[in-house]
Subunit: 121 residues, 2 copies
DNA sequence: AATATTGATATACTTTAGTATAGTAAGTTG
DNA sequence: CAACTTACTATACTAAAGTATATCAATATT
């Protein structure tokens, strides 16, 4: 095997990595996913609370996005059989672990602003 | 200060963190940013090469997204005064550092698939 | 001299994402 | 019993993102 093709092998991204990145981007994309995740990390978990927490989100979008996040295994919907019925949303373990990705983003973003402002590179 | 407000202080996300996360998402969003970054990480750097590397991207989108990435300080456009003129795109230092974020995404995505498949949580 | 390549841009169109507004069912409060 | 709250859904719309197709200027190739 040539050196070049070896390098190519190393640099080519395995398909499961591409999948993983896509999965991650899917739970963050759109205008409202991040605010919703942040709201749930922060602690708000009832529909009306989240809606109040994220000003300007319409119930349609909140409903749609929560369903989406639930289907993606990031949010869990708990129905309590109290009277009146109470519904609470919470992050799954995976959902909570997204902070790790957010940390990496914060780090990159802050570093990036520094280099861009300093006009390095 | 009450215990509750202390907790709120801890859990609230500083504005610069929000900015940093938004910056990071901006350089990854849309259908083509990731393939373009990947193509440049991999080594392809001329317009036609990138276009060939990413099948189905139209020149309009490639042009638009490269400009966008350039404006965001992630890609550098080098014009070589050879004959014929040659233009090469390369990642800036910040651009290269995005792999750190991608690593976090790969890690989360793989772990997430595991837990979802195993139906934990 | 005709054709191909590079690095694009212009125009018109379609598709997807998000908004505005209204309404519903089940229960609670005054 | 009228009004309000919670947790939504339906319909119709607008805005943003992406596509298709054509074109262009500069140079290279045959």
């Amino acid at each position: 095997m040539s050196v070049l093709s070896e390098i190519e092998d190393v640099k080519q991204c395995p398909k499961q990595f591409v999948l993983a990145i896509n999965d991650t981007l899917n739970v963050m994309n759109g205008k409202w996913k991040m605010p919703i995740l942040a709201s749930l990390l922060y602690g708000k978990n009832r529909f009306k609370d989240i809606q109040a927490n994220i000003e300007k989100i319409t119930p349609r979008m909140l409903s749609k996005e929560l369903k989406d996040l639930e289907m993606n295994g990031v949010v869990k919907r708990n129905v309590y059989d109290t009277t009146p019925i109470r519904i609470e949303y919470e992050l799954t373990t995976s959902g909570k672990n997204i902070v790790k990705v957010l940390d990496a983003m914060v780090e990159w973003g802050i570093e990036h602003r520094k280099t861009v402002v300093e006009k390095l590179n």
